[in-house]
Amino acid sequence: MDVSGIMDSLRYRAPWQKVARVILKNQGFHVGQGWDDTLPDIDALHAVGAADAAKLEDALIEHLIAGEKSLQFYSASRENLDWLLATARKSSPSKHELVSIFPGILPEPALAVMGDVPPKFCKIIDTDIGSALIFVASRAYQKRVKLSPDSIKASVAGDLEFDSIIGIINHRAVVYDAIWIPADAEFAVVLADYPTDVTTDFPVPSHLALRKFLSKQLKEDVEASNLFESVATLYGAPDGDLVELGFITDDDSVKHLKARQGKKSLRKDSYHSAGSKEVGESLQPFRVAVRWGRKLSSGLTSHPELLLPGTSRHIFGVNHLLTEAVFRNGLNLGDLGLIISKLAANI
């Protein structure tokens, strides 16, 4: 794929500050203030030679697999997983036209013509640390955008005064999902694409489709692992910054704390640490997000973030099943490996 196609795809998918910037810097590119300040310099390079372009494409593909995802874990025997991989390596990609754009994107008018497309098998990527089956889909979603009240004042009759106005825009997105099978592990991870500006049900069709795929390939009905035990584990672990926490205490009130983006860990927050000392073991967490800093070989740092989005119903109710984890700001497979290592004990 040419460099401008790679850049378009990266721009479309990767959060700028925490991911795209780091990917580009990690590849040795000069990064300006935002995309519009960065791309002209890269274009002017013409000389992004074949080797550099290939490295950039590899970085994009790793991000397609690992970046902005909703995760579900499925246990399976190693034998069955190896068999699944062997079959996938022999399979041809789907003939659907969407597959031909990998790892790129399509403009919305072209996607609109196709309509919704369920996940189509695209290719398999083998690495030292695991293998990824990549799928591509197309899905519509609604995006909420805040509008300035002044911008519609002229067209609204009467004396209506608004404090804020939310607009709804219908979008259609190219969706890259993956099934990641870590080397030597006895589970597979379904990574459903989950952009930051979509609703919480966006990844559901991908999860349903890929669970069906796994069940068919493994010849048994698979069920997503319960990750709820990991909530307490992550909360109690000393590493990483605790950036979100939902919990209840003995008085049955439900509390939700969130550290502002880019700021300190809640573990260091005086309000929380004083409170948690006071209530001790009666603090029961149900929702937790942790962010880690992972040093890259270039000296830069990635900041993968994992959210286990439980609700208080997981504690109050009978059903303690939490099957989803949300993975944000993932740069590459190294970040994915880190996140998986935090959950593996409870899978």
């Binding site: 700028w16 300040d37 955008v145 509008l147 983006q261």
Partner: protein
């Protein structure tokens, strides 16, 4: 002539009130977010009252009495649920420059009408924090 001789009595009283509020918030666990609106509320003032504005600005700028530092929060118009993203030093410098701009940390695109999406807030200056913990 005293360095503060130019301040009116109302301004001196307002400065006292602000310092009192800031000191008590610093000591307490619930520091809150020190926006202009919150500081006005805590001192019983109004944003836009020149006396209040002059005093907040003095406490944030006077080379000898600086106890506040201004920082910026970005509210992404495409993310109505956002709690506000603190801007780092580089982003702040670009946002406040005379011909400034802001790059949305999420999309990497320049934010249209960015000045309406940024809320300034204050934190204790290093001098104040050192004094409080010293």
């Amino acid at each position: 002539m005293s360095e503060l001789a130019f301040l009116s009595e109302r301004e001196l009283l307002m400065c006292e009130k602000l310092i009192e509020v800031i000191s008590s918030r610093l000591a307490s666990r619930a520091q809150g977010v020190w926006t202009y609106s919150n500081l006005a509320k805590w001192t019983g003032s109004k944003v836009g009252d020149p006396v209040f504005m002059n005093c907040v600005n003095l406490l944030a700028m006077h080379p000898d009495f600086r106890v506040l530092e201004m920082h910026l929060l970005f509210f992404d118009p495409e993310d109505p649920e956002s709690d506000g993203i603190p801007l780092d030093d580089e982003q702040t410098a670009h946002a406040l420059a005379a011909d400034g701009f802001l790059v949305n940390p999420r999309t990497g695109d320049r934010v249209q009408n960015y000045k309406s999406t940024i809320v300034p807030y204050f934190k204790p200056s290093k001098r104040l924090e050192d004094g409080a913990h010293g």
